[in-house]
């Protein structure tokens, strides 16, 4: 830690930093008002897939960068799971060296354009910003600036591909191409390893592609980041399920020395209430994957999702918001969130809830589904919901919902998306009986090296370890695991 403090101090003392800091008095910086990112018109964007947030213009970015006072102790960094040098990249923007800012981001974060869009900055870096904790003012828009720098680089045509060490011809396998898998493979490639990422689906990107809709995270943004990895020598094999297509033993025989498991939490959960198996009732995973990856919004496609006119999405998390807003875009007349607690307890990001409301999403908070009904063809046509009230808080601090007797009523629906959580993907744990797993089905690892506690050549991170994580946490795991795998392999080589 001391080294990091010293390093940051040295960085902050550089001539260019001193100059830019002195260029505007701190008092004036503090008086500036936070720049808000503009958004597409809600009544237009809810009919198409264009990205909701339009990004900052260069003028806006420069103005916002001036708000950062370049604190001697940058508390914002303590809120970042991958330790981005936040003041440095912001000051690079202020000097109009945007590509330099992007390079700072990429030192520790392989997917800045993604994180700039989907990280919950309000609970991470921005929650620890000087403005938030000392002045009770809106924080520096770190997330917006991150996205600005990353997009600028992507659009500049001068995308820097990180340097990689001389190939060491040691094969390592990465299971899953989500944010954890992409992060670990980037770092392993930098160390010189021969990295192959095995992806079960036909598209690379994991939850970034199948889970997060285009209007929040365009696939093209993810593809740019994936291309960088390809240029670094990372190989990708799609439609390949490790544990089914080939076993870990098969891969070991092929020369793989270690594996990173980032297979995510793709097993949907349901509520176990009557009628949940009727046609027209989806898990959010299935619904979003069909729309995002399988062109299901196109009725002429092989596997369409019927565009529901009366869509209920059960749950209050980000996935629920993604599902309900997708339904609206597919033409739903009524697109409803049915959530059993109040808005205050909703796990979704405040921004997502705000966007959903602007787009005409109805919120039936303090309601819970009891039963689904279907027509003669077994297709859902209505559901019984019950009103709830809030009782005492449970261990998570959220107030427990309590049903109000006799408050049940019927709601007409033709599509229901159940978004009440996911479980870790069970395929890898099932393929490796010696792997220690928790009651939750997550893989138990050493939290510093991300190495399995029972099988030394297995490392893991992301949702398969955390149950549910943010993109940046998964990436942080991937980076730690890459260092852990490198150490493990090098020690093994030395021992032989």
């Amino acid at each position: 830690m001391e080294n990091i403090v010293e390093y940051l101090k040295a960085e902050r003392s550089q001539e260019w930093r001193n100059e830019i800091r002195k260029s505007i008095k701190t008092k004036l910086r503090l008086e500036k008002v936070r720049v808000e990112m503009s958004e597409e018109d809600p009544n237009i964007r809810n009919t198409n897939n264009i990205e909701v947030n339009t990004g900052l213009s260069i003028e806006e970015a420069l103005l916002e960068a001036q708000r950062c006072i370049d604190c001697p102790t940058p508390t914002c960094m303590t809120g970042c799971p991958v330790g981005i040098n936040i003041p440095k990249f912001i000051k690079k923007i202020e000097t109009n060296d945007i590509l330099g800012a992007a390079a700072v981001l990429k030192d520790t974060n392989g997917l800045p354009a993604v994180c700039g869009r989907v990280c919950p900055q309000e609970k991470q870096c921005e929650a620890e910003c000087f403005y938030t904790i000392k002045l009770n003012k809106p924080p520096v828009a770190i997330g917006h600036l991150e996205r600005f720098a990353a997009d600028y680089e992507q659009n500049s045509g001068q995308i820097a591909v990180p340097e990689v060490a001389k190939p060491n011809k040691i094969k390592v396998g990465v299971v899953g191409s989500g944010p954890a898998g992409l992060a670990v493979s980037g770092d392993l490639a930098k160390y010189g390893y021969d990295v192959t990422v095995f992806e079960a689906l036909h598209e690379i990107g994991g939850v970034l592609k199948y889970g997060i809709p285009e209007f929040r995270l365009p696939n093209s943004v993810v593809d740019v980041e994936i291309n960088s990895l390809k240029q670094m020598g990372v190989k990708f094999r799609t439609n390949f399920i490790v544990g089914k297509t080939a076993s870990f033993d098969d891969l070991k025989k092929d020369g793989y020395q270690a594996f990173f498991v980032g297979s995510g939490a793709g097993l949907p959960r349901f509520m176990n209430i009557p009628g949940e198996n009727y046609n027209g009732i989806f898990s959010s995973n299935e619904y979003l994957t069909r729309v995002n990856l399988m062109n299901a919004a196109d009725p002429d496609y092989d596997t369409p999702v019927i565009s529901g006119k009366y869509v209920a999405v059960i749950g209050g998390g980000n996935t629920a918001m993604d599902s309900v807003r997708t339904a609206k875009r597919l033409g739903a007349k009524r697109s409803m969130i049915i959530y059993r607690r109040s808005e205050e307890e909703m796990p979704a990001r405040v921004e997502e809830i705000k966007h959903a409301k602007e787009e005409g999403i109805e919120f039936m908070n303090l309601h819970n589904p009891l039963e689904y009904y279907a027509d003669k063809d077994g297709r859902v046509n209505s559901m019984k919901v019950q009103k709830m009230e809030l009782g005492e808080p449970d261990s998570s601090g959220r107030r427990r919902p309590i049903p109000i007797e006799g408050s049940e009523f019927i709601v007409e629906v033709d599509t229901v998306v159940v978004s009440v959580g996911v479980s870790p993907n069970p395929i890898v744990p099932a393929a490796l009986p010696k792997l220690e797993i928790t009651d939750w089905g997550t893989i138990v690892v050493d939290k510093d090296t991300m190495q399995s506690t029972t099988i030394p050549e297995i490392f893991a991170g992301g949702d398969i370890v955390r149950g549910g994580a943010t993109v940046i946490l998964a990436m942080g795991d991937g980076r730690k695991a890459a260092a852990g795998m490198h150490k493990y392999i090098q020690e093994k080589i030395k021992a032989n």
Binding site: R349, V420, W440, R466, G467, G468
Partner: protein
């Protein structure tokens, strides 16, 4: 040898000793042992809504301790009680399925319901899993300062009606004695569609440790003296209701079983004595009943069931008072 067969909840039991819902009916091994030792039927340990919520709380605390598991923005944690409920229910369903394969006495599933909304779906699943009947252990807190009697009682009726709407198997209702007028409640339960009433629940009660000045739990086991309240109400209800009556709490030996049958019970539920003495106690109790019936010349139970019920009296209150006055006048 006397015939002990008894009809309860539409099933013919080989004898009237049913093992009550408790920790001795929660695994397949224990159930097999109970059946082997002569139990007439088993009521599986209840699925408790509150217990499931506590388990969910425990899981959340565990997740918080494991700092790798992330709970912000996660629907999983938000619905953890539902997921725990699902897991518990699936375990329970497996127990029913296994019990139906491995034992040949009726298997009665038991759920502890505090609301009428959530448990109807569960009840249907228990029926589908093969349960021969359902026992609803309804426990609405009887000491709320805000709810009046009618509100409490209507919750009972509502739960029963909703469950009866969704299941075809017989439904027994286990109640506490804490009602302003138990007689009308018992009638109301019958009218709501219950096929049997089990009298009564054994609650865990608070106690106080005066040295540590802390609230503790009182002994959860019943005592032989606990039989008298259920004996009274079985006696009062027998022949006044057209549904089965199960006596519970304080039945520790064959003599207690016979008392309840004489009062009018269809069957008796035992638990504490099996906890303390093991499943072999069932055989001992059955032998006692056989010997008593032989001695009294009874060939089958219906010959003496309800013989000493209070149904002969038109006004049970008078009957009760008369017993009371006679008792104390004899003492004096």
């Amino acid at each position: 040898m006397a015939d002990l067969t008894t009809k309860y909840l539409g099933h013919t039991l080989r004898n009237p000793i049913v093992i009550g819902s408790s920790g001795i009916t929660d695994t397949i091994e224990k159930l097999v042992d109970l059946a082997k030792n002569g139990a007439g039927a088993v009521v599986l340990k209840s699925l408790f809504e509150e217990q499931i919520l506590l388990e969910a709380d425990h899981k959340l605390k565990q997740a918080e301790k494991n700092d790798l598991i992330y709970s912000d923005f996660s629907e999983t944690m938000d619905y953890i009680d539902d997921h725990v409920k699902e897991k518990e229910l699936n375990t329970y369903i497996e127990l029913i399925k296994e019990a139906k394969q491995k034992i040949d006495i009726p298997v009665i599933a038991s759920i502890n319901a505090v609301t009428s909304s959530e448990w109807t779906g569960f009840a249907k699943k228990l029926e589908d899993a093969g349960a021969d009947a359902l026992e609803l252990n309804i426990f609405v807190m009887p000491f709320s300062f805000d709810k009046d009697c009618n509100e409490n009682e209507n919750t009972y009726y509502s739960i029963i009606k909703k469950i009866k709407e969704v299941v075809g198997i017989p439904v027994a209702v286990k109640i506490s004695p804490y009602f302003a007028n138990l007689g009308t409640v018992v009638k109301g339960i019958e009218e709501a569609g219950a096929d049997a009433i089990v009298m009564f629940n054994k609650f865990s009660s608070p106690d106080i440790d005066i040295d540590k000045q802390k609230i503790t739990h009182a002994d959860v086991f019943s005592q032989p003296n606990d039989i008298f309240n259920s004996l009274r109400w079985i006696s009062l209800s027998a022949n006044r209701l057209n549904i089965d009556l199960a006596a519970s709490t304080g039945i520790h030996d064959g003599e207690a079983v016979i008392k309840q049958l004489l009062a009018g019970a269809t069957i008796t539920q035992v638990a504490t004595t099996i906890y303390k003495n093991g499943p072999e106690k069932i055989n001992e109790m059955l032998n006692f009943i056989h010997n008593w019936m032989d001695e009294k010349g009874h060939n089958y139970i219906d010959q003496f069931r309800g013989k000493l019920s209070s149904s002969a009296s038109e006004n049970p209150e008078v009957f009760e008072r008369v017993q009371f006055m006679r008792y104390f006048s004899e003492i004096n």
